[in-house]
C-alpha cells in the first residue's frame, strides 16, 4: 500500500497546502504593492521595504522580539535540560507529579497562562515596586518554553544506556567529565531540538506577551495587534516577508545538506553491506 495513494490524496494535499499558503502569498505579494491598499494592486514597488528601515517603532518591536526569544530560549534550554536530568533520576511518583505540573502550561489555554502570570507580576510588583516590562516578558517566555525543552530532552535520556556514565567513570572520568564527554553528546540532538522549539514558540507568541509585557515594551506581534485596530502598515508585510524568506532559505539549505548526507550514507552502507555479506560468509 506504499506510494500508491489515490488521486483524492493528491488533491487533498494540494488543497491543504493551498489553504495554508494562500494568505502568506497575499501578504508577500502586497508587500510589493505601490499603494497602501491590501486588496487593490497598484503596481510593483519596494517602497515599503525602504519605509521599514526607517520605522523606529517596528524595528524596535522586532529587536525586542528577537532579544526576548533568544534569551528565553537559551535560559529555558539550560533550566529545562537540567530539570530533565533531575526528573529522569527520580522515582516514578514524584516524577509523574512534576511532569503533570510541567504539562500545565502546554495544555492550558495561553490566555489563562498569560492572565495568571499577569496577576502574579502585578501583585508582587505592587509589593516589591516593579512594573510590567521586559523582565516580566522574559520570565513569562521562559515559563512557557521550559516544558517543551524538558519533553524534548527526556526521551533522549530514556534511550540512554544507563551504564554509559558508569562506564566513563570506570575509565577514570569524574562525574562532571562523564557528563560533558559522554552524556552530553548523546543528549545534544534533544537539547538542540528543544532550543529550536523554544525559540520558534517565543517568536510566534502573542497572547502571553500581550498580558505580561505591559505598555512600555512591545513585541512585533503586539505591535501588529495594535495596528489591526486601524490598518496594518505594509511595512509589516515587508518585514514578515524578509523573515519568512530567510527562514525558508535556511531550512532548505539545512535540509538539502541533510538529505544529501543521508543519501551518501545510504550508498556507503549499501557498499559496506555487500562487502559484509561476502566477508561474513566466513
Amino acid at each position: 500500500m506504499q506510494n500508491k495513494n489515490p488521486v483524492i490524496a493528491k488533491v487533498l494535499n494540494v488543497l491543504v497546502f493551498l489553504f495554508l499558503y494562500l494568505p502568506i502569498a497575499v501578504l508577500i505579494v502586497f508587500s510589493f504593492n505601490d499603494s497602501k491598499s491590501r486588496t487593490v494592486w497598484s503596481g510593483f514597488s519596494l517602497h515599503w521595504y525602504q519605509e521599514l528601515f526607517q520605522d523606529e517603532e517596528i524595528l524596535s518591536a522586532f529587536s525586542t522580539t528577537l532579544t526576548v526569544s533568544v534569551l528565553a530560549a537559551l535560559i529555558a534550554t539550560v533550566l529545562g535540560t537540567a530539570a530533565a536530568i533531575g526528573f529522569h533520576s527520580m522515582k516514578r511518583r514524584p516524577r509523574h507529579l512534576l511532569l503533570t505540573i510541567n504539562n500545565i502550561p502546554m495544555t492550558n489555554a495561553d490566555i489563562i497562562t498569560g492572565v495568571s502570570l499577569m496577576l502574579l507580576f502585578v501583585f508582587t510588583g505592587n509589593l516589591l515596586g516593579f512594573s510590567l516590562g521586559f523582565g516580566t516578558l522574559l520570565v513569562a517566555h521562559i515559563t512557557f518554553n521550559i516544558p517543551y525543552v524538558v519533553l524534548a530532552v527526556l526521551p533522549k535520556l530514556r534511550q540512554l544506556n544507563p551504564n554509559l556514565g558508569e562506564a566513563a567513570m570506570d575509565l577514570g572520568a569524574t562525574p562532571w567529565q562523564a557528563f560533558w564527554k559522554v552524556l552530553m553528546p548523546e543528549l545534544r540532538p534533544g537539547i538542540l531540538n528543544g532550543l529550536l522549539i523554544a525559540f520558534t514558540l517565543s517568536i510566534d507568541d502573542f497572547v502571553i506577551s500581550y498580558f505580561t509585557a505591559g505598555s512600555e515594551v512591545a513585541t512585533l506581534a503586539m505591535q501588529i495587534y495594535a495596528m489591526t485596530r486601524k490598518r496594518i502598515s505594509p511595512e509589516v508585510n515587508a518585514l514578515s516577508t524578509i523573515l519568512f524568506i530567510t527562514v525558508l532559505a535556511l531550512l532548505l539549505i539545512v535540509n538539502f545538506r541533510e538529505m544529501h548526507q543521508t543519501k551518501q550514507a545510504e550508498k556507503r552502507n549499501k557498499a559496506l553491506q555487500k562487502d559484509g555479506v561476502k566477508g561474513g560468509a566466513k
Binding site: Q2, K270, Q273, K274, G276, V277, G280, A281, K282
Partner: protein, 381 residues
Amino acid sequence: MSKELIRLRNICMAFDDEQVLDNINLYFNDSEFLTLLGPSGCGKTTTLRIIGGFTTPTSGDVIFDGVRINDVPPHKRQINTVFQKYALFPHLDVFENIAFGLRIAKVPEAEIRERVTEMLGVVSLKGFEKRRVDQLSGGQQQRVAIARALVNRPKVLLLDEPLGALDLRLRKDMQNELKRIQQQMGITFIYVTHDQEEALTMSDTVVVMDKGRIQQIGTPEDIYNEPKNAFVADFIGESNILDGIMHEDYVVEFFNRKFKCLDKGFAPMEPVDVVIRPEDIEIVPADKGRLVGTVTSVTFKGVHYDTIVDFKGYKWLIQTTDYHEVGEVIGIILNPDDIHIMKKSEYSGLFGDYSSYSAEYDEINDPDFAEEDEEDADDED
C-alpha cells in the same frame, strides 16, 4: 509425504539493482515441516514473504494448490504467518488478538469463543485471555502469535525466525512444542531460521540457501551426511574441507595419499572437495596412523574435546572424547564412509580450514547474527 501444496517456479527477486533471489525452484508438500536455512541476507525471509504475499517477485510463479497466486493479496491467501518479533496488536488483549482473524471472517461469536479457547489450550495459555500482550513474557507472546495464526485453520503456517528473540533454554522447549503442534494440527509449516541445529532438529525437509540461491534440498540426514558443496558442509555442523583428486570411482587422493571412499561418477583425475566431519576421525598412536600431525590446541566442550591438529600446515578440527595434550604427535585413521566427496564449486577453498578456529566457531551460534541486514532489504519494497 503426501501431495504437493505450494510450488515456486523460477522465482527471481531484485530490490533496486540488488539480486536477492536468483531463480528459485522449490515445492512444498502437504503436512510437511520444511525449513529454509541460511545466513542473513541469503534470501530466506524474502522467499517466505513471497509465499505470504507481502512481496511480489520480480519474475516467476507462485503456485498454490495448482493455481497461480502471484497477484492474490495476503488477506486472501489460506496462509498465515508468525512474524519475527510476533507483531501482536498492542491495543487488543490476548483473546482479541487470537480472535482477530475470525472476527474479520465474521465467524459467529459462540464459535469464536470455542475456537479461541481451544487454541489457548493447544499453546498452553488457558487463563491468559484478558491479559494485555505487553504483560506477557517472550515465550508467551510467541505462543499467542502461533495461536493467532493457527486459529484460522490455514493450510500453511509461515514462521519467520520465531524463536530468535527467546533465550536458549526457552528455544529448546519451543522447538519441541512447535514440532508437537505441527504434528497435532497436521498442516504444512514453513520455517525460516539461520540456526542449523534448529533446522536439523525440527524439519522433515531442509532447504539450504545462500546468496539468493538454493544450495541443497534434502532431509536433515542427507544434508548433514551428504553436503553438496563446501558451503553446505561448513554451514551445517563442523567440517574439515580439503582439496582432493578423484583418481577413479571409490578412490580419492589427498595429502599425496590415496584413500578409499564410497563416491563415484566423477571424471578421472577430477579435482574435488573432500569433507571429513570432526567427529568421524579416529585418533590412534602416531605409528599406526595413515596421517600424522601435531596437536596445537585443545578445548573442553563438555561432551567432547575440540582438538586442533596440524597436518603439514593444514589444521583440522577433531572431536574426541579422549584428551590429547598440546604438542603431542598423533595419527589418524579414516574409514571409507567418513570421507565425503563434493564437486568443486564457487565455495571451494573458502571454508573448512581451522587455522583461525576460535573466532568463527562462536559466530555461528550467535542468535542475533546480524539479522538487521535482511530486514533493511525487505523494507525497500
